[in-house]
Subunit: 397 residues, 2 copies
């Protein structure tokens, strides 16, 4: 490299951005998190003026928190140690394979790790993530295998009177093939949107890996936005940037379920799909499990595969709206029409555990065929990613 | 809403995520940044234990920094004031329409705004953003107009011996049309990747808006990854998560330019495009301007439109590699073959200003037709977004 070239590159380093400039003059080029060969992890933070630095995240054992709802699981915390250069650090024990999230707490202030640019937004918060590979966590990684495509596009929803954004995974080879594919409609929870499954859920990585391993059929995975007052995820729609709220009006009042036909129609008229019941699956987490329950019942001869992941079971037998009415009759119609799989999964400490047990009793009372998976843990993305790795291989076989 | 439903929703709020739980128990539901009707902005941060809180960002006047390269522009800072509840705040004056970025500095520690989940990664740092609407900044917003699609997919690059990720914008109506479209190849700078133009550059919003206003022709915009040792952006490729470096080996040694034909071939055999010189444009910022210069010269009868945005002009007349050799002859060949537009733009305080002036002199000496735009400001994304809004309308007319 000649001298002139070196100077130019150095100048790049200085002026490319505010951040690059700051980075250059920092006393430490911090690596955090550093994942060691034995799967222990070192977190580091340069904060010479801080009095206390803690890390909190789901790699730590959870602790009990008192809330108005009673005791619930909360995230554990661990305290970092400062060296003479002002760098705080903490080395964990070996961690199990998993995708973890974490934040730092600096003198009581919860914030992101400035050395880790990999963040995922969950409702209104951005949190750092890292992956400990091995086992099922290798399904969350990008591996050197054929990759599907992920498209964000907009479709017309006459039922909701607007154009809406949708995220669509097509499997490796879709573009060059003349084949038709089955479709999984994959629904997010409250506070989520059409970005949730692809970002928090690692859907593209999971599907690429399962398909490459021959464990799942090549399929299209459609991730719509389930908040009927939004045209798109916060920051991506006509409202542009605003602070997302957890409770979004009209997401569980039947409007979405009633207009879901717009999405099926859009997919089936714009993609090479097998447009029949045997090649349609629908699944969702939490509120998306609620939507799955009601959409599949309201359209009782449309889907052969249903997945309720930590579903917000609210039969709403008192509700009088069109979608929620005739609950028992439509559930019976769905059963009588037949299907291949009605799959329910929930964690033992999920706050919806009891509601799911009641729903299981209801299904048993009706002799309605179903499968049930009970996992450890609560109402968390860690479970929903794993449920997807278990549910997808069951589809379209 | 019935009582049961309320309880379930409240439980959701509590347990949906670590962040949601924390948010619920915070004493303040902070809104930051809050953009007022007069385009002033209030920043807020809840940090009762902090001794000093500052905000830094490109909405503040820049300040001179001493560096080993001499004085350069650095970001300004302003100090927030604490109220009796521990909330720090600062209200700015009215700001001009623009997309701005900012960070907080808490007792010397630079960090993101926990109340603003909208972040953009630039090299290894994530920075908060906000938009003051009006004027050209409305082109950066999502408006209620037809939207194009953005696809992340993988293509085979025999020239680099790997599958590589690429980001492709197709204009509104592409999927349902039978038309063929022109193509703009849009290249990132050093430290960037195939995510840079779509995220930092707001390409999808700019193109949607220009097309809806009739100011730009509907076109496909292709955003490849210009780092030949990467298969994809950090976090999206086979290396998975790691701390991105600014200086990436082999990005400016001719390898990329030599293999660029793989990208053109992929696009022209997979999209409905007008595969001729009159319908090909290439542009890039900084290192991408360098790539544009050399790719368009090395393939001297391929593109009718060239855009060099704050280009890293390094003629490298001393270089002997295949791509950089015969500089003058190939530039003359490009001129003699003819083209519609050779567009050069740079800011007055850009550290590459002098190199660009020398290149302009060289073009004048060769009577090589070109247009030159000189803007305020330096080597910053603010300029590159604006250059795209000025360059795209000139294409394929």
């Amino acid at each position: 490299m000649n001298k002139h070239f070196q100077i130019i590159l150095f100048a790049f380093l200085l002026s490319f951005s505010v951040q690059a400039q700051e980075a250059l003059f920092r006393p430490q080029n911090i690596i955090s998190p550093e994942i060691h060969a034995d799967n222990s992890v070192t977190f580091r933070l340069f904060a010479p003026n801080a009095k206390e630095v803690q890390v909190t995240g789901d790699f730590l054992p959870s602790v009990k928190m008192d809330t108005p709802m009673g005791q619930m699981d909360g995230p554990g915390k661990a305290t970092l140690t400062k060296d003479d250069k002002g760098v705080w650090s903490l080395k964990t024990q070996s961690l199990n394979p998993e995708l973890y999230n974490y934040s730092f707490i600096i003198d009581g202030f919860s914030t992101t790790d400035p050395s880790n640019p990999f963040l995922i937004r969950d409702v209104a918060s951005a949190t750092n993530i890292f992956i400990i590979g091995g086992g099922h966590a290798d399904l969350f990684k990008t591996n050197d295998i054929p990759h599907g495509s992920v498209t964000r596009r907009w479709y017309e929803s006459p039922g909701l009177g607007m154009d809406r954004r949708i995220t669509i995974y097509t499997p490796p080879g879709y573009e060059k093939s003349s084949e038709s594919y089955p479709v999984l409609y994959l629904l997010h929870g409250a506070g989520g949107d059409e970005e949730a499954w692809i970002n928090l859920g690692r859907t593209a990585q999971i599907m690429d890996n399962l398909i490459a391993q021959g464990k799942a059929k090549p399929m299209i995975v459609v991730k719509p936005n389930g908040n009927v007052i939004q045209d798109a995820a916060p920051g991506e729609g006509n409202q542009n940037f605003y602070k997302p709220q957890f409770m979004i009006p009209k997401t569980m009042d039947g409007t979405y379920e009633g207009a879901f036909g717009d999405i099926i129609k859009f997919i089936e008229s714009n993609y090479r799909v097998k447009a029949n019941k045997a090649n349609r699956a629908i699944a969702g987490l939490s509120m998306g499990g609620f939507h799955t329950l009601h959409i599949s019942r309201y359209h009782p001869n449309t889907f052969d595969y249903m997945g309720l992941f930590s579903a917000a079971i609210m039969p709403r037998e008192d509700a009088t709206g069109k979608v929620y009415s005739n609950f028992d009759q439509t559930l019976k119609a769905q059963m009588d029409n037949g299907y291949k799989l009605y799959w329910i999964a929930i964690g033992k400490t999920d706050f919806l555990y009891k509601a799911n047990q009641e729903y299981l009793e209801k299904l048993k009372g009706k002799n309605m065929p179903h499968e049930y998976l009970e996992s450890e843990g609560g109402h968390i993305w860690r479970n929903w990613r794993v449920y997807l790795t278990q549910f997808a291989p069951r589809l379209f076989q």
